[in-house]
Assembly symmetry: C2
Homo-oligomer: 331 residues x 2
């Protein structure tokens, strides 16, 4: 699977900034791959990219039409079928990160077949996986792990990759969720794999490589999340990380989506992840902490990061405000 | 999903006792639900049940024909199609625990439809699951957890249920693998669930119940197995066990299928499972140890169990040799 740019990001009639996370991720991290965004009447949000119609994008050589919105349940509303068929007609492949699959809509499948276009249901892995082996692979690996879901593991991973590329490292970003897959053009939505193959699929994401090559692997969930810890553990074991970066967002008190849950400390998160990771890499180390400080001022965020850096004797940064160079210096 | 007895256990032309694990499990744990076993020319193994042809079984009222064998890859060999079609003709539903699905064979699907029979691909969950919530449920739960895969978690669970039933407990066995599902007539093959729903599916397996009702949940894998720990953790979190029983088989030195792996101690297994289980049930306790001592003499097995019992200050038994009453006394 390889998704070809340039992309046209479709955000429909979205009215909630969070619901266009997939389009926003691409606009933030690979604007050079995006021709623009396309929205329709009623839409009140934007990724910040130029509004571009399907016809205009086609003229500019758009290769892929991205359904860049999501909704609770991941439903593909039938009202978008004419738009999708139009994009197919104008020469584009289609990417969807929704739970509903493009390949379950006969009209879409038929037209794609007629025109020789590709449909990417990136939330549904198509590869055949095997079970994990735990066998050590060559090359180096960094995994981002979190106190919770949605604390910035993907953004941290991408920021780390960006810093490393600038410094001349041989580095790849390994996407494990639909937004990351769109940005990287490939990857595996690890929480959509059959449970038996969690570690095996994770192993396949960062295969043997040159001794000095780094895979920066996007973490998922949290070992302390009652719903998703199994996914986090399978990804951790299969990734065999040499180094971990701990991700956290300020001002959380319960786990995402679970108002009655306990929130783990950063110290506990370090302890749990190191203990579990040692099963497949006894030499694993935590080399830094990444904090989403967007809920406080830049100054307050820096003060908090400085305190945490002292407390844990390692770099602590907000990658979006200050970049990831301080962590890269530890490699 | 409810599989109806009585069963006819088909073991084909198997020559390896381990390959008829599914039929053997049913013969061992629910012989009263089994009319007999059916094998064909070339078969050199047996469950110990009476050889019974499809015609004879049909006359005795067999309701379900069980593909009781497995092979590497879980392939359904086309040579068995005539046998399966014959069983359908003679009034039986079909159960398969193979990776290949009955519903992917048009001849089988067509005949089943014609005759109004049901096809059970019990390794492939059909329920729609939701993600876990971690919300405390009523009733009591016991989960068997292991040092490794295939150390006797299902047999221990069934032995515990049997002892508890005899003592008048209100108790149910919750199956999480294909053999258990055949014995219980229902359950979820937890390692075949989409990873995102691991905990949610596990929660659905032991729903709210009476305060004095016990669910005995069959564990899967091991927190120390590099391939399957994610499954074990999701099941552990979703089960919210009040009590754990640690399962182990003597004379193992590496994890099943992984010759280079480290084997965890019983102490480490207790520590890892208690730590993880506390996330969804802070009051969880380990109440006993169950050892598969079949690789040593009965006398040596008892000596080892007595030593472990003293070391860990809790009952330690081989449930198949000595029953589970000693552990039940702890409840």
């Amino acid at each position: 699977m390889k998704i070809h740019p340039p992309y046209l990001l479709f955000i429909g009639d979205a009215t909630d900034q969070l619901s266009i996370k997939m389009a926003q991720s691409a606009a933030d991290w690979c604007p050079e791959l995006c021709i623009g965004e396309y929205s329709v009447s009623g839409c009140t949000v934007s990724t910040g990219l130029t509004h571009t119609t399907i016809d205009e994008a086609a003229k500019q050589g758009a290769k892929t039409f991205v359904l860049g919105f999501a909704n609770s349940g991941g439903i593909l509303d039938k009202k978008w079928l004419p738009t999708i068929l139009d994009a197919l007609d104008k020469g584009m492949n289609i990417v969807s990160g929704l739970h509903d699959r493009l390949i379950d809509f006969p009209e879409i499948v038929e037209k794609a077949k007629q025109l020789n276009r590709t449909l990417f249901d990136i939330r549904h892995p198509i590869a055949e996986f095997v079970t994990g082996t735990g066998v050590k692979r060559s090359g180096k690996r960094l995994l981002t792990v979190g106190t919770d879901c949605s604390v910035g593991k993907m953004y941290t991973s991408l920021s780390l990759e960006k810093s490393m590329l600038k410094k001349g490292f041989d580095v790849s970003f390994c996407a494990t969720g639909q937004c990351g897959i769109l940005i990287a053009g490939k990857g595996v939505a690890i929480d959509c794999v059959i449970a038996d193959f969690l570690s095996g699929a994770s192993e396949s994401l960062s295969p043997d490589n040159n001794e000095n090559h780094w895979d920066i692997i996007e973490g998922q969930g949290s070992l302390s999340h009652p719903a998703f810890a199994g996914v986090s553990l399978g990804l951790l074991h299969g990734s065999q990380p040499d180094t971990l970066v701990i991700c956290h967002a300020l001002n959380r008190s319960t786990m995402r989506g679970l108002p009655d849950s306990q929130f783990p400390s950063i110290a506990k998160t370090i302890e749990l992840n190191l203990q579990a990771a040692r099963l497949t890499n006894p030499n694993v180390k935590v080399i830094g902490i990444s904090i989403n400080t967007s809920s406080v001022s830049i100054e307050d965020g820096r003060t908090i990061c400085a305190q945490l850096s002292e407390q844990f004797s390692m770099p602590c940064i907000d990658p979006l405000r200050d970049g990831s160079d301080a962590i890269i210096a530890e490699l």
